[in-house]
Symmetry: C2
Subunit: 265 residues, 2 copies
């Protein structure tokens, strides 16, 4: 999902190539390990840790094998040691100043989110385009106006930016962030951002997640009615009129006409 942008075939970093899928799971393992650490559990087996992280043990062992041989056969993994190794691999042994742009409901929630500071992330600044917000403290940090964006970025050496603005301003904010030196962006605005080569973008879209759930939910409902049968298979004929010849056509809700087809943004 992330880092979609203009593909990255296998850009540099041939050495020590950790699969992207593995990288995405490291934070999950780290969280589970941290919990064990707090309970002073000294070692853990791949089976136990995998269970706590919600994956299967073979996958977990394979993942760890990319980092090195950090376990002990017949015993398991040393919790503290693994916490350190994963933290280091993820780059969490250093401090990452981040800026949050767009202090609306979501931006404010992000600013208040404890999960940032607890890892290596420090909210260096909150930025908003609304002059009325300027100076107002959110989560103990005064909101600054967008005008100062470039200065804030460079003064604080910020390389990670969080965009929580409305979709309309996201690309513009993104451009300014990148121009100012930000090379990683976490985007909450419902828009596809285009960025130059070398800049990473990850997207979090609340409504997309719900839509994916709805897809599966709908299917479940269908199964209740058709325990396994499934419609005779309509692969060939779409339930609704095919793309009417040429220009004129209309989405005729032939099937489960529930309500008008088109839905607003």
């Amino acid at each position: 999902m992330a880092t979609d942008r203009t593909h990255r075939p296998a850009t540099s970093t041939r050495s020590r190539g950790i699969p992207e899928a593995t990288v995405a799971r490291l934070p999950v393992y780290l969280r589970a390990l941290t919990a064990l650490s707090e309970r002073s559990v000294p070692t853990v087996s791949s089976e136990e840790l995998a269970s706590a992280a919600g994956v299967n043990s073979a996958k977990l062992r394979k993942d760890f094998s990319y980092l090195g041989s950090y376990g002990t056969r017949g015993v398991g993994y040393d919790v503290e040691y693994l916490v350190y190794q994963i933290s280091r691999e993820l780059g969490l042994t250093q401090d990452w100043p981040v800026v949050i742009v767009g202090i609306g409901n979501l931006g404010a929630a992000l600013a208040n989110y404890g999960g940032f500071a607890s890892r290596g992330f420090r909210v260096a600044a909150l930025i908003d385009a609304d002059p009325a917000m300027a100076g107002r403290p959110v989560a103990g940090i005064p909101v600054q106006h967008t005008d100062a964006l470039e200065k804030i970025i460079s003064d604080n050496g910020v390389s990670i930016g969080v965009i929580a603005t409305p979709a309309g301003s996201a690309q513009q904010v993104c451009d300014r962030l990148v121009q100012a030196g930000v090379t990683s962006i976490l985007n909450f605005a419902p828009t596809v951002l285009s960025v130059p080569e070398g800049v990473d973008v990850r997207k979090v879209d609340l409504s997309i997640e719900l839509q994916i759930l709805a897809f599966h939910e709908q299917r479940k409902a269908g199964e209740d009615i058709l325990p396994e049968g499934v419609i005779p298979d309509d692969e060939t004929e779409p339930p609704v009129a095919p793309p009417a010849d040429t220009v004129t056509k209309r989405p005729d809700p032939g099937s489960d006409g529930d309500r008008p087809a088109v839905m607003p943004a």
Copy 2:
């Protein structure tokens, strides 16, 4: 990534099996199409739409081919028609009542998020464990106490629940939601939820996303300094004791220059 839970071998739905990866992209296509629709663009080619959605055209065509042959060779896709087909496929032509549990900063932001209502989602209720919140309106909806959770779910026929509580209460809330009939959960709490077979869980974790970005960011920094070279020897001893008494295995010590912000050198 989503629907992690206890594996799903290839659950029913043999026919019309749309790949999970494709399902995850449909909402993105839908958004791009909706934008085109608002600009009254009648048709679009796979190339144009792919560009707007941030994917390549071959992937987009392949994705659409799973839905059916909705395009016209030599022309492209009819925007309105495709909007309808994708909406229907995702189950957005019906109304999905959802409940949000945990009305803190994030929960409130979610309640105010316009992206829900605009699709087929309707916030049926806001639920919080804090009695002081009860009755207080958030986003125009009165918050109700957790005690009423079961009744709310069944009265409204809710099948999708959003958890925005602290990690500590997430599993408990999840259990109650499932018990009450919810079969899809969007989890914002930083915890792995365990649910029975048949229940879908998708997770959104803000700090995990940042950690993934940090990983790549760290790597970029390393490349700047070490264009490809790797410091051969680096007897860096981790601050934490290596795997107990055992040998000092550790494969390839910090092969990439590590930025020791917390670590000795």
